[in-house]
Point group: C5
């Protein structure tokens, strides 16, 4: 059965899937999970001419790069060690609330202005290659005048490799641009990452559609419910991106140039497309539930027809046979079952039974009840 439908691409977080503070704890309290990997810091510093990639050990080593006019991309993967995070906050002068948003994952995607920093929280989804499931993690951006800080939950494969390659091999105009363009490029990669996930769901829905009409199974129902639940969860993840990017477009912020806004507009279009499709999928899944219900009703109908046809044909016949199994004594009265002593009695009963059966079969035929039993020639009958 496992191969019959694509396995569930269930996201990692589910149900109560926002990080929340212990009620009453002071703002800025960090919630570090015990098994969270320690942060790995990679700095890429580039301008049109040179590009340096460096693995940073101590957060303070970033400081010299922040003052230069070249673009510094500090990519931190892993949320593990509170003391290191406190030092990172110091180096980048992060407001305690920013630190909380970045470390206490997952947060709702959003955009926040903090004087000379722009904080953007997003969710990245990645289809695991060759598997029909996807991973989801929070990616936070802190955009400063000449630097971009990105924070990912875990040090693993992300969707930023093509951009790292574009920096390294000078593909496109990325190297000539400022930090805001880098921010756009990464954001765009995250948004575009939703499309392959949507494709997974499209395939699953199509598989379910076939299943529902061809062979509805009790499990199909649970699958439809599951897919609805996941789409709800995904929509809840995507929807705030739309508002966040719209806020980026409409607010005047010196950190984002008008030129880059043209590109962000494209990003916005893509989020709207993703939402459009999610909405459509959700409506399709709801409709599938109805189709399933109808298909079950149809099958029940078929079962009932089978029972009814066979029962109503044989019950009268059995009654006739029962009549002539009675033991009325023909010797005490000429009225007592004289049929039993007729010469043609037995054949006559058979004829009677044949007539009754034929009549009923004809009745059912005319009402179109045999249709479902021979789907091949169903179109030949008057109705279904």
């Amino acid at each position: 059965m496992a191969n019959a439908h694509p396995p569930s691409p269930s996201p990692e977080h589910s149900y109560v899937d926002y990080a929340y503070d212990q009620p009453g704890s002071p703002p800025g309290t960090l919630q570090i999970r015990a098994d969270a990997p320690p942060p790995q810091i990679v700095l890429i510093d580039y301008n049109a001419k040179t590009a340096v990639r460096q693995v940073i050990e101590a957060p303070e080593d970033c400081s010299p790069y922040l003052d230069t006019r070249s673009v510094s991309w500090i990519d931190i993967q892993g949320l593990g060690d509170e003391s290191i995070w406190r030092r990172i906050a110091q180096v980048f002068e992060l407001h305690p609330m920013i630190l909380e948003d970045v470390v206490n994952v997952p947060q709702r995607p959003k955009v926040e202005d903090h004087e000379d920093q722009l904080v953007v929280v997003t969710h990245m989804v990645m289809v695991v290659p060759d598997q029909e499931r996807f991973l989801q993690e929070q990616v936070s951006f802190v955009l400063g005048p000449n630097y971009l800080l990105t924070v990912q939950e875990e040090p693993r494969y992300d969707c930023f490799d093509p951009i790292r390659a574009r920096i390294r091999y000078r593909k496109g105009s990325l190297r000539q641009r400022q930090a805001d363009y880098l921010f756009y490029a990464l954001l765009d990669a995250i948004i575009d990452g939703y499309f392959p996930v949507l494709e997974l769901y499209g395939e699953r829905l199509e598989a379910l559609e076939t299943k529902v009409t061809d062979a509805p199974h009790t499990k199909t129902l649970a699958e439809i419910h599951q897919i609805k639940r996941e789409l709800l969860s995904l929509r809840r993840s995507v929807w705030p991106h739309r508002d966040a990017i719209a806020a980026l477009l409409h607010k005047d912020n010196p950190l984002i140039s008008t030129d880059v806004k043209i590109y962000l507009r494209d990003c916005y279009e893509h989020v709207v497309q993703v939402l459009d499709m999610l909405e459509t999928y959700r409506e399709l899944a709801s409709s599938l539930m109805d189709v399933y219900l109808s298909a079950v009703s149809n099958r029940m109908n078929e079962v009932m027809k089978t029972l009814t046809v066979i029962s109503t044909i044989f019950i009268p016949l059995t009654f006739i046979a029962g009549i002539y199994g009675m033991n009325f004594n023909p010797t005490v009265s000429p009225l007592n079952m004289p049929e039993l002593n007729w010469y043609w009695g037995y054949p006559a009963v058979w004829l009677l039974m044949l007539a009754v059966a034929s009549g009923l079969v004809a009745f059912f035929w005319r009402r179109g009840w045999f249709e479902n039993f021979s789907p091949a020639d169903s179109s030949a009958k008057p109705s279904g």
Copy 2:
């Protein structure tokens, strides 16, 4: 069966039906399908006095026309050859994002201002003559000061022929007008093209309505689901047109004169009408699903009634026959089935059975259960 219902006018694109970039690819990356036809460029240059139609080989041949004061309509069909597209972008000074929108089809319909160019992305639908299906493709407009660039996906029959004729034969005021009016005329043709498609769906819905109440079939369900899916998809295609045209109306753009805006208002009205109707169709399709479910329930009811009527009439009769088929020995006791030796025994049993059967038939009759079996005179019975 294939002729019993109109074949599905399914659009060409479905499910994940927006073009999206490989996550992380630089903006402006073109995605040329291997089988895409190479672009065919046709230029029509006209003013009130003269009109020239010319097939262009090299994109650069357009340049001289762009500087003249006459209106130049450059119609490009086919998205095939990346190098040609790069040259086209050069000639028309297209921003990389414009080029991407135009070539990476399909995009969501939208309007974008780019300094002295106005980019409008639309979807054109065309009913294939004599077939009950329609084609859908993206048509992009780039409106410049004296020229209009239109880009279609494939070189085939489009809905612009009447406008080409109006230019050629000086029908209406088109030849006296500027490029913005040409743009309006083409946009209007695209919007009006949705009406025949709606008519197709109207006919399908009406056919389904008849089918659902007269002869609900298992396939009917799948058809309703299919039509809902297609209407969702169509609505997703039309809806952004509304926003796009509203943006055209409300933004001040020197490329579109106040005079033409009066005409665009008409265009807007038409999009709203299309959406109105799509919404109505969608609600009707949903209601049809309910009607179908009820119809299935009704049929099941009918099946159950048949079973119940025949079973409950014959089961007691069979029981009576069974009684007198017992072999109690009348010789050991006068109490042992003396009926078998009565003179009127057998006729009396028949009378008893007739009485039981009549009583049950009367019971069912009074409850109105025979109604469905003779629909012709169903109104004569008390209820249904």
Copy 3:
């Protein structure tokens, strides 16, 4: 059956019910139906002192009246003759788009400013007296400085007669007022005309409600679907009136005086009332669909109970009878059916069967299954 429910007050236009141009045709193209009646023009010119009613043959005969300071109401009924319409457009200096809106019916209700003319498109509904159906046609208004042009689709009974009488017999203040007040009076008559139509639907819904709970029939379902469809269609017709009148209220237009706006506010209230009620009706119709489904389920339940009660009582009895119909040879063994030779054998079997039947009846009675069979005293049983 035809008399059992009020006949459908189906509007004249259905499904694709907006006029649309052949894609690509120039704006302003008129679509005159071959069977459309030629326009009949009636001019009523009045001021506080005098009132003249004149049937106009040639459109040009209106011109002298337009220049006077008295109010001229030109009422045109019939959309038949293109040449006359071109002349009308000339006389009243109508923009080609106005002419198109007025002649290519039906359009969506709307308000449009055209320099010194205000164009309002509305739909008039009229209940046909003594019949339970209504007619629907487009009425367009062109309000100029001293005149009001109204265009109706057909020369027949309309809802303007009371206003004609108010002009003729100086009822109310109409004769003292300007053209804008006349426009209000006519618009108000059109809006108020929706209430009797709503009353028709109210009655139909009430009739359906009774039917659904008392005697649900397969046709009832189709009727509910039909009423939903008509309410959707009616709402689509009413909704734009609301926006149109709101636009009249909020836009500053010299053609409409502040004084008349107080009256238009009343008109707006009425449209909102109509929409309120339509919305309520729609929700009621949806709820009726659910009630119908439940009623069908209830009836099926009743059918199943009948079958179950009779089957489960008689099947065990028949089994017992079958036992003693077996032919085991009592002579070869004292164990072989000695009951057959007992003195009280036959009565004992009857007692056994009575006991079984009574037990089952008691079982069903306690579960309340007999309730539905005697609705009169259903409240006496424990549950239902």
Copy 4:
């Protein structure tokens, strides 16, 4: 049955429940019902020191009170006599549209500014003491500089008595305040009057909930539909109050002092609470419909299980009995039913039948089908 559920607190007006003019009648036409009681006018004139209550015979007798600086509350009950109403309009200088709103009941609740008068139309509901139903009537307010005119439909018990007492016995600060505070006090009494009505519905819903799960009856369905219909109607009555009071709060009107607006804000909160609860009730009623449907399905399931258990146990047994009731002649062949002559034949058949029956019972037991028959120990079985 009548006592089993609270009787329907059906409002007085239903379905087409707005007053509408005969289409085409002049604005301000009064629709006086023949059986409407003549207006009874009671004037209460008070200031901080004195308070006078006087029954007014001729409307003109109010005039002297209007000019004084004391607050005059003119309460008119009954809409009967057109000539008196014309005189009232004269005395209070009411615009014809105000008169129409006040007399042609019911109108949609609303607020309208008319120069130095503020017109507020509301609906008052009153639970009839000791009966589970409520009355609904329109109460209109005309607030002038020093007076407040209130118009009720009928001269009967209203919810203003506590306020009359507060004036008479100087309770609270009412006597120190202006007419706007009196207006607030009356409006607040009207709004608070909705809560007891809501409580009625809350009780009905709770009663229905119990009924639906414990003993779903066919009538329950009609009751749920009825309650939905009434809630829809009530919501339509309450909703415009919200907009009306919000308009009072946000518009600057010299007739309402800033001080009183603080109190009106409280009034607004209460309307929102009423709407909140209505919305919740409506969703609960919808959910109840689903619960009802499921409960019906569950009962059908139970019925089917009963039938299936008994049928499938006895049908095979009856078959076995039928076998040994066959009359094959054992004398012509040793193969012909030798069992009949076996010594242990009859007991062996009983054993066989017992084995079959036990096997089937065990099968059904394992599938948990007996659960419903003994709800007390249903948790002991594996599933249900």
Copy 5:
């Protein structure tokens, strides 16, 4: 059964759950329940250096603290004694409407500006430790220049203890801040308190999901309805918080500093998260209702299949046995049941019956009807 699902975390207030005045009572009338505990007043006065906690006996004892520049937090628990409340109102100069909001619980959450006081009404939820239910009570805030008044319904465990500890042990920056920050800290604690409640519902929904697909029981339905009802009630409680906090963020109020607004933004994010999840839960609960309905249908299907399979196999067999139980007299005619005297008669009948049974079993097998009986190998069959 009680342990099988988490007990209902039903809130304390239900249905008509807003406090409302007796219609017509003067504003500011207090509704003190007879069993309400008398107010216990605790004052915490702190600045960066010192912090004093004092139990206040007479409200007037608070006065001296209000004039100091240190922050005074007056926490009142219990709404019992009207005279004390009147004195409290005097001391804090509370407007009668504020007093009403604070004492007449529950009110709808809201924010109100009153000159130099800011009133915020909120609902606090607390999960009872080790029990799967939560308490709900109103907490009102009155924020003045240097003080914060909080009013709780009952003197019992609340969620403010961590904040009291932060004041006492100088955790975080609370001691350095003003009253507005204290207000934020308490509000944040209240909002964060919703998350554990949501987690309870998440667990209950997950438990219901398992139950619905594995073992749907009649009670499951009532539980789903119950959870929907509670979620509706919870949403009605949370929703106004969102508007209230948004109002705090967007209004300029000298009592709340810009600095604290950054923190309130976080609070707002959390409310939106809570609403997001509530909405998702509600949709899941609705979907569960559908799943339940389908599961019931599926079980009915299974029951019907069992009945149909056994009935349709044995009914024909019984008929055959019935045939040979007839008593036609073979001696009067060679046509009368010669089979009974055949040598192979009895075995032949058995063969015939086996053939019929096998044919029917094969028929059902091919249609996949046996699938449900052996779920373990259900994937081996063609469909289901």
